[in-house]
């Protein structure tokens, strides 16, 4: 499969922003990975295991030659990698759901001395969440495994990622997702749809001045989806649209961000929009904030000056006390676009004290507004971190 992202980087100074794209885009993935990694860094102080150095892992560099479907597979030379699916689904009688299935691989030691199969080279994590928009129910489950005897893993060369019996694989060009836990589950087929969009410069997302601080990053922004979903003790046939991200790299961050707000939106005029902003500890918006516009056949990178994200309405989590903006106004003046993004359900907070220790909001959103004077609407997903518990910079700072 050939990538159709021929417009990447065209004339825009994306290089200094893409690192932040990477960072912010998958902030929550980071949070999860970091909780593990920082713990290891802390407890294992004085050992080779302290992470944050490239020690044995490959750096993301320019000139990566993409090839699909091979690059859907794992890239075990890089330390961190994830496969990230979100989407909006509905049943034949219009009952609406949001879903999220995420697989993470966090490298720990590229070549453990211990010959045991249980020696940890990588840790594998996975998250499954379903939002029942009618009832306002938000369900989630999580997995954390070492590769061990094949309890979790990711194959290179093709899309085959699994954690326990949760799997993501290829069925022709389509992606097949199966993740069932107690009380919730999805079995979905995601058509390739609009295909692959490379972010940043031909998929290289630089995050800082240093050449190595970067990652390889692409999305499949609009994947027609069908299958079934398990909620309330019953399986329901569903259809809808999904968004897939795949990213891998080794060294990333320059700390001092307290959190981020990230949007993936699919509009009914054919526009897919990815936007994020990094919030700094002084309350300002980081200049690495960025985005990508994807239209049929072309994608365009956006820098921080090209869009504005403004909170409209807030919701306070009764559990964590975090104050999340769950309604936003988005302005892209150059593109004469003004959008309102509203959470379909207020309570889509993930509280992962038992596993990752990171509390964040990740959920289905509805979009409406005007672009070039014409009314548009759509659906999407919103992720907000750094509103509860320790600021993300502290989590990052630990390693």
């Amino acid at each position: 499969m050939k990538t159709r992202s021929d417009g990447v980087g065209g004339g825009l100074s994306v290089s200094c922003y893409t690192g932040a794209v990477f960072l912010a885009l998958k902030g929550y993935c980071w949070a999860l990975g970091l909780a593990v990694v920082s713990g290891i860094g802390l407890m294992g102080a004085g050992q080779e295991l302290v992470l944050g150095t490239a020690g044995g892992w490959r750096q993301a560099e320019a000139g990566y030659s993409w090839e699909f479907p091979q690059d859907h597979g794992s890239h075990p030379d890089y330390r961190i990698e994830w496969w990230y699916y979100t989407g909006n689904l509905k049943t034949a009688d219009n009952r609406r759901f949001g879903y999220q299935v995420t697989f993470f691989r966090v490298g720990v030691d590229p070549a453990p001395d211990n010959p045991s199969r249980w020696a940890v080279r990588d840790l594998f994590m996975a998250h499954l969440a379903v939002t029942d928009i009618e009832t306002g129910q938000h369900l989630m489950a999580e997995r954390l495994n070492r590769g061990g005897v094949g309890w979790a893993g990711a194959e290179p060369g093709t899309l085959s990622v699994w954690n326990g019996d949760w799997t993501a694989g290829l069925d022709g060009e389509a992606h097949r997702l199966v993740a069932v836990d107690q009380g919730l589950g999805v079995e979905l087929r995601l058509e390739s749809g609009r295909g692959v969009t490379l972010h940043g410069a031909a998929g290289l997302s630089r995050k800082g001045e240093s050449q190595g601080n970067a990652s390889q990053y692409y999305s499949m922004t609009r994947m027609p989806t069908s299958g079934r979903l398990f909620v309330d003790g019953t399986w329901m046939a569903v259809t809808g649209t999904s968004w897939m991200d795949h990213e891998f790299g080794t060294t990333f961050l320059e700390p001092a961000q307290v959190g981020w707000d990230w949007f993936s939106l699919q509009l009914n005029n054919g526009l897919d929009l990815m936007l994020f902003q990094l919030r700094r500890s002084d309350g300002s918006v980081d200049s690495y904030s960025a985005g990508t516009r994807v239209e049929l056949g072309q994608s365009t990178s956006l820098d921080a000056g090209e869009f504005k994200l403004m909170p409209v309405r807030r919701w306070v989590s009764p559990r964590s006390g975090a104050n999340y903006p769950i309604e936003w106004r988005i302005e892209l003046p150059d593109w004469r676009t003004s959008l309102t993004v509203e959470a379909m359900v207020e309570a889509q907070e993930l509280y992962t004290e038992a596993s990752t220790g990171v509390t964040y909001w990740e959920g289905a959103v509805a979009v409406s507004g005007l672009t070039a004077g014409l009314p548009v609407n759509g659906v999407g997903y919103l992720e907000m971190t750094g509103y509860a518990g320790r600021p993300m910079s502290e989590v990052f700072g630990n390693w």
Binding site: G44, P115, L144, V149
Partner: protein
């Protein structure tokens, strides 16, 4: 009621020495029973508590055949997740060296903390932030490096261990330098065996314990704990060959069964002291009956019914029994502390590693003591009490000094004795019940009762025919002693019987142990032919899996003086329908036959049969295995292997006294074919005939280096070690027996004292007619010594009979060992002198009392 209590209480106080001795006897008897029970309970309980806490919330566990679960099979067990959470476990023991210089035994759990947290809920102590709590990631972070170990807060504070402290884990022959990366809060599994728990990452555990590719078990925590029965069945039906599902408690039951025979025999021994105590009760009540005949007569004349009289004497026994139980229970608890130390050495050497602590006394312990002591005392007292109740008022008043003197040959005791001996002979031919020698012990008990019945006959014999002998040995004092004894045959019978029984048991046990020791010595000579024996420095029981590392084996094999090496691998394997833990061993048959040897029971040419077993699915089994599981040569045993049950032909049975659990041994090639290649747990080395074993040992140790935890024993030191273990195993036996003898000798002293006190008038008359104090004293001492000698003589004969039952019935049924009969003549001669002297010494106090009686007392 007033009369009742007066009668009883007065009885107890009237003869305080006898009462005190009786109560002391009962106290000791109860104490020994309680002590052994507590010790037995604690050795199993120590293991089971540890098991329970370590098992945590595990509902079921999947275990493999002997070597464990091959980890690759886990991939096929994905379907288990529909039943519950799954966690693989390595469960071992290791020694830890801490900076304070101490070495302690630790239970080591190797787990995948990402999986294991719901099973055991470890919580790490956090120092940095002062708060407590831990996620799987924190635990993993603490454990990830191959040098990381997590210990418990309790252990750490005791040994001055802190975070980042270096420690060394001794596993097999290697001491691994480790760093303490976390401390578990003092709760949950961390409390196990007093904090002696270490947690490793499963990868580290596999590596350090030489278990790469293997798991000790896979634990399952069911989502629906109530559905355990159905889940167990369903999982059992789906498991591949070679894997079994069981509940964690099953391991406890296996250990319990393994220890059952050992514990049963200890319990049986403990009752000897109680039986002796009961004889004292009988004796005391009997004397009480005799000396209070006139009182009984008066009461009867005043209209007291027979039942009241019966009640009086039973009441007396009951008071003593209750006192004995009340004093004996806490005494037993104290005694148990010492017993645990004695027996845990045996349990740890021969069976399992456990750390036993004596449980606190509970209400049920007091109740049980009472339930044992009171009814048995009442039964013991019933015979004399019934006799008292039969006394008619007239007879009692008229014949106040009535005594039983057998005019003719004592027929009743003779009949009883023959009946008991007959019963004993019959019971000794019966089979064991569920591996326990119930009938064997019944036979021993019958012989003991028969011996007790024999005592009045012997005393009567002495009365009739001993006069000349005693007179010629001890002069006039002897004559007087004989006369006194003759007059008191009935009263003495019971005390002497108690002594005879204790002495018979001592003789029997001495003969049994002596024979056993002789047999083991012979066996060691036959079997231990290698020049050097290499083992890891773990003091681990047989069947443990501390292995010898490749580096050490290479150093040994390359030494020029070493001509042959036989690597032995042994481990526990459940066998048979009950899952009895046997020991499966693998060795190099070729080397063993060329250089060493086994003592074969069948066939005569066991070596040829063994040679023929190489390359086939054939095994040799130990005698105890053959006996316990009723397997003969030519028959087939079915052993669980990782590939499912396999049939092995038994080609020979050999003598073995290293473990009563039973050994099945196969050639290492056969073993490897079924169980995979495993590192040896021990090496036997055969040296060049010109080499000096001691020098080679020194050279080998130097070559291997001081960092390796290796014991190399020469043939001579190993033989000595075997006998040392043997002797320590039987230390408890002697201790128990000594207590019984002390009780019995106390009884004899008390009886003599009573006799002296009752014969005041006679003694005073003797003084009046010119007997000196010294003569009176000598007379009483001669009486005592004579009773001691008589008891010991009888005891030796009865003991010989008992030893035959012990050796050929009880021992075979409990442990499955052939013991060659051998009389430890030296020991028996020594003990005869010792007993006679001790009895004479016991007569000193009554003698002093007698000597103080002066003529003026006669009115």
């Amino acid at each position: 009621m007033n009369l009742f209590s007066k009668f009883i209480v007065r009885a107890v106080f009237r003869d305080p020495v006898r009462s005190v001795v009786t109560i002391a006897g009962l106290t000791l008897g109860v104490a020994v029973v309680v002590a052994i029970r507590l010790a037995n309970v604690s050795s199993v309980q120590g293991f089971e508590t540890a098991l329970e806490v370590v098992a945590g919330k595990t509902s079921l566990e999947i275990v493999g055949a002997g070597v464990g679960v091959p980890e690759t099979q886990l991939a096929e067990l994905g379907w288990l997740r529909q039943y519950g959470r799954v966690s693989p476990v390595i469960d071992r023991t290791a020694q830890i060296e801490t900076l304070d210089g101490s070495v302690s035994l630790l239970r080591v759990l190797g787990v995948d903390v990402l999986r294991d947290q719901p099973f055991r809920e470890y919580r790490l102590l956090r120092f940095s932030e002062g708060d407590q709590g831990s996620s799987p990631q924190e635990l993993l972070a603490a454990l990830l490096a191959p040098t990381s170990v997590v210990l418990t807060e309790r252990f750490a504070s005791r040994h001055g261990v802190k975070l980042e402290s270096p420690v060394r884990l001794r596993i097999g022959d290697t001491a691994h330098p480790m760093v303490v990366r976390g401390l578990l809060l003092d709760e949950g599994p961390a409390r196990v065996i007093d904090g002696h728990l270490a947690v490793l990452d499963i990868a580290t555990a596999q590596w350090l314990f030489d278990r790469l590719g293997w798991l000790d078990r896979v634990e399952v925590q069911l989502f629906v704990p109530d559905g355990i029965d159905i889940a167990e069945q369903e999982i059992a039906a789906r498991l591949p060959e070679g894997l079994r599902i069981q509940r964690p408690a099953q391991r406890g039951r296996q250990v319990e069964r393994m220890l059952a025979a050992f514990h049963f025999n200890l319990t049986a021994l403990s009752y000897i002291a109680l039986v002796v105590g009961l004889f004292l009760v009988y004796n005391t009540v009997a004397v009480s009956v005799i000396s209070r005949r006139s009182e009984v007569g008066v009461l009867r004349s005043l209209g007291a019914r027979r039942s009241l009289i019966l009640g009086f004497f039973l009441g007396e026994a009951a008071v003593m029994a209750v006192l004995g139980a009340v004093l004996g229970t806490p005494a037993g608890w104290l005694l148990a502390q010492g017993t645990v130390r004695l027996t845990s050495t045996t349990v740890n050497t021969l069976y399992v590693t456990s750390s036993a602590t004596v449980p606190q006394l509970g209400f049920e312990d007091w109740l049980l003591s009472g339930l044992i002591a009171v009814p048995l005392s009442l039964i013991a007292a019933a015979i004399p009490a019934a006799e008292a109740a039969r006394v008619t008022p007239l007879a009692a008043v008229r014949d106040a000094d009535h005594q039983v003197v057998y005019r003719d040959f004592p027929r009743k005791p003779a009949a009883a004795a023959s009946l008991f001996f007959g019963l004993g002979a019959w019971m000794s031919t019966l089979e064991a019940v569920d591996g326990l020698p119930l009938f064997g012990l019944g036979a021993a008990l019958a012989v003991v009762c028969g011996a007790a019945a024999l005592v009045p006959i012997l005393l009567e014999f002495v009365r009739r025919f001993g006069r000349e002998t005693l007179t010629s040995w001890c002069g006039v004092e002897g004559l007087l002693a004989h006369a006194n004894l003759s007059a008191a045959v009935a009263r003495l019978a019971v005390s002497v019987a108690a002594l005879v029984i204790s002495l018979a048991m001592l003789a029997a046990i001495a003969i049994m142990i002596g024979s056993f020791r002789e047999t083991v010595t012979y066996w060691v000579g036959q079997t231990l032919q290698a020049d050097l024996f290499v083992a890891t420095a773990d003091r681990a029981p047989v069947g443990s899996t501390a292995t010898i590392s490749t580096a050490v084996e290479r150093d040994i094999r390359t030494h020029p003086a070493v001509v042959a090496v036989d690597g032995f691998r042994g481990f526990d394997l459940p066998y048979g329908p009950e899952g009895d833990l046997i020991i499966l061993g693998a060795g190099d048959f070729g080397v063993l036959l060329d250089y060493g040897g086994l003592a074969f029971k069948v066939p005569a040419d066991g070596a040829a049969a063994m040679r023929a077993a190489v390359g086939r699915d054939a095994v040799v089994v130990s005698e105890s295995f053959a006996l316990k599981h009723e397997v003969g040569v030519g028959e087939v045993v079915s052993l669980d292997t990782p590939k499912g049950p396999r049939q092995f032909c038994v080609v020979a049975i050999y003598y073995d006294y290293s473990s009563d659990r039973g050994l099945v041994v196969m050639d290492r090639a056969t073993f490897a074919r079924h169980f995979g290649r495993q590192r040896p747990t021990g090496l036997t080395l055969y040296l060049d005939p010109d080499a000096n074993a001691e020098e080679v040992r020194t050279e080998l140790l130097a070559a291997i280096g001081p960092d390796r935890r290796i014991f190399i024993r020469t043939n001579a030191t190993l033989r000595a070690e075997v006998l040392r273990i043997f002797d320590s195993t039987f230390a408890i036996t002697y201790a128990l027996e000594a207590i019984a003898i002390i009780v019995a000798i106390l009884g004899v002293a008390a009886t003599l004292l009573t006799l002296v006190l009752e014969r005041r008038r006679e003694l005073a008359i003797l003084r009046l007619v010119g007997a000196g104090r010294e003569q009176i004293r000598r007379m009483v001492v001669v009486e005592a010594a004579m009773l001691g000698l008589l008891s010991q003589g009888t005891g030796l004969v009865v003991g010989l009979v008992l030893s035959l039952i012990l050796i050929y019935v009880i021992n075979v049924q409990s442990f499955g060992w052939t013991i060659q009969f051998h009389l430890p003549l030296g020991f028996l001669a020594q003990s005869t002198i010792l007993i006679t002297v001790t009895a004479a010494l016991a007569g000193l106090y009554p003698a002093r009392v007698a000597a103080q009686i002066v003529g003026e007392r006669v009115r």
